[in-house]
């Protein structure tokens, strides 16, 4: 069928306003219902994951080469540092051994209930949002591997964030630094509770501290048990700056360069809106609000 020239011209003129309108509406709808696009996003990311994995593979190699060069340059200085550190750590090892023995004895005496077994899933980062206003990463494990929404993601040194979306073989981890990340934490020593709020900068802020809490640079921050999402005591970071009400925490994990993550299942269900009750398939917004009302 041939379309007449005037109709075609009119359609062409209207394309831009139409597409701009659609885009703007998508943004507005997304703002009113934050979960609207979850299903679509997860489905698409699952499909595209093999591509992402294939593309990121050579970069792992390239990164390895860069790292090898950097290591070779720094080898002498690092060697000296490591020797010193090794000597120091050997002393700590002695201390840890005696403490572990003492701890075992005390546990025996107090008849302490043994802690739950922790399952962890090792995953590789296959995509990194890398945007100016989003801090999240995609990992190559999902529902099929046992990943669930709300689980903690860690590197060897500390908490990275929590699982926000799960596909069948991918999952998205919202980093501590993301605008939408709010994690209950506490100070390791005083157990004073607070919330660690991401604000898009490299160092998240501590908010909702009780008034007149004494905070000093260098204080260690760990996850707090409140909310039942994470078990208490996972290492998060150290207070890096205090200026008036603005307290910033430097995460232990190097969030800018994440390669391998451990998704940890502590068997806690906790307060997990929307994910606690899996939404029935092919239900619109009505279905979800019915869940929320329950």
């Amino acid at each position: 069928m041939r379309i007449t020239a005037p109709v075609k011209a009119a359609a062409q003129r209207l394309t831009l306003p139409f597409l701009i309108f659609v885009s703007a509406m998508l943004v507005v709808f997304g703002k009113t219902d934050a979960l609207l696009y979850d299903g679509l996003r997860v489905a698409m990311v699952d499909r595209i994951a093999p591509v992402l994995q294939a593309v990121s593979e050579p970069f792992v190699t390239v990164t390895g080469v860069f790292q090898a060069v950097a290591d070779a340059v720094a080898v002498h200085r690092e060697n000296v540092e490591l020797r010193e550190e090794n000597a120091r750590l050997l002393q700590w090892q002695e201390v840890a051994r005696s403490l572990a023995a003492e701890n075992a004895e005390l546990r025996e005496l107090a008849k302490l209930v043994p802690e739950d077994v922790v399952n962890s899933i090792a995953t590789r980062v296959i995509a990194d949002s890398g945007g100016a206003f989003a801090r999240n990463v995609l990992v190559n494990a999902g529902q099929n591997e046992g990943v669930q929404r709300g689980q903690a993601a860690m590197t060897g040194v500390g908490l990275v964030g929590r699982v926000a979306e799960v596909g069948s073989h991918t999952a998205r981890v919202l980093l501590l630094t993301d605008l939408n990340s709010h994690i209950p934490v506490e100070f390791e020593e005083s157990h004073v509770r607070a919330i660690l709020d991401g604000d898009n900068s490299e160092e998240p802020r501590l908010v909702y501290l009780p008034p007149k809490t004494e905070v000093k640079v260098g204080m260690r921050v760990v996850t707090g048990g409140s909310g039942g999402v994470f078990p208490p005591g996972l290492p998060v970071g150290v207070v890096s700056s205090v200026s008036g009400d603005l307290i910033r925490v430097e995460p232990y994990a190097e969030l800018a360069r994440l390669e391998l993550l451990r998704i940890v299942d502590f068997g806690l269900s906790g307060v997990l809106p929307q994910s606690a009750v899996p939404a029935p398939k092919a239900t619109g917004r009505g279905g979800r609000s019915a869940d929320a009302a329950r």
Binding site: T15, L16, L19, I20, V22, S23, A24, M25, L26, V27, G30, K31, A34, L36, Y37, L40, R41, M44, V45, I48, V51, L52, V55, S56, F59, V60, V62, T63, F66, Q67, A70, V125, I126, A127, D128, S129, G130, G131, A132, F133, A134, R135, N136, V137, L138, A164, E165, R172, T177, L179, N180, D199, N200, S201, E202, L255, A256, R257, L258, E259
Partner: protein
């Protein structure tokens, strides 16, 4: 009329701009993990949309720009789906309006043009995300990503120009 140009290109090659743009979009979420390369990566999709709008707007229609933007938004995992689509559509419209300043100019002039477009795009992101989030966000990551994007444009443009040469050579 630029839309008539597409007749000179073979059917399969018509999709070179769109496909390279999609690839650039995917590439922008690949973790580079290079030492010193911070959290943000350059906005590769913006480079591609700009490049093709300047050199072959007939092969980079609005619908292709829209789809690229949506793909980027879904890949990014931000709650603001549609935002990149809006920004890219805006960018394309501005470039189309000012095309006569870019065509047949030396690379530095085009680069300067890209610099302005990138600055405007990231200013737009900063303002809109601040409004949507209900708080003024720190400018630093936005400025940083804009600078990184502009700095990487020559490389991106080189790759696209190479794809463009194939497109021309085969037709």
């Amino acid at each position: 009329m630029p839309f008539a140009l597409s007749r000179d290109v073979g059917y399969s090659l018509r999709f070179v701009p769109f496909v390279t743009t999609l690839l650039f979009a995917v590439f922008s979420v690949v973790p580079l993990n290079l030492p010193g390369f911070a959290v943000v990566t350059p906005a590769f999709a913006l480079m591609a949309v700009f490049h093709w709008t300047v050199y072959r707007p007939d092969l980079m229609p609005l619908s292709a720009v829209f789809v690229t933007g949506l793909l980027l938004d879904l890949l990014n995992g931000t709650p603001y789906v549609g935002l990149s689509a809006l920004a890219l559509l805006g960018g394309r419209t501005v470039v189309m309006g000012q095309r006569q300043f870019f065509v047949n100019r030396t690379f530095p002039v085009v680069w300067l043009g890209f610099c302005i477009v990138a600055a405007a795009t990231f200013a737009f992101f900063w303002i809109v995300v601040s409004i949507l989030h209900g708080a003024v966000l720190g400018l630093r990551p936005f400025v940083f990503q804009a600078v990184l994007t502009v700095a990487c444009y020559p490389v991106g443009s080189y790759i696209l120009a190479w794809a463009h040469r194939i497109l021309v050579a085969r037709t």
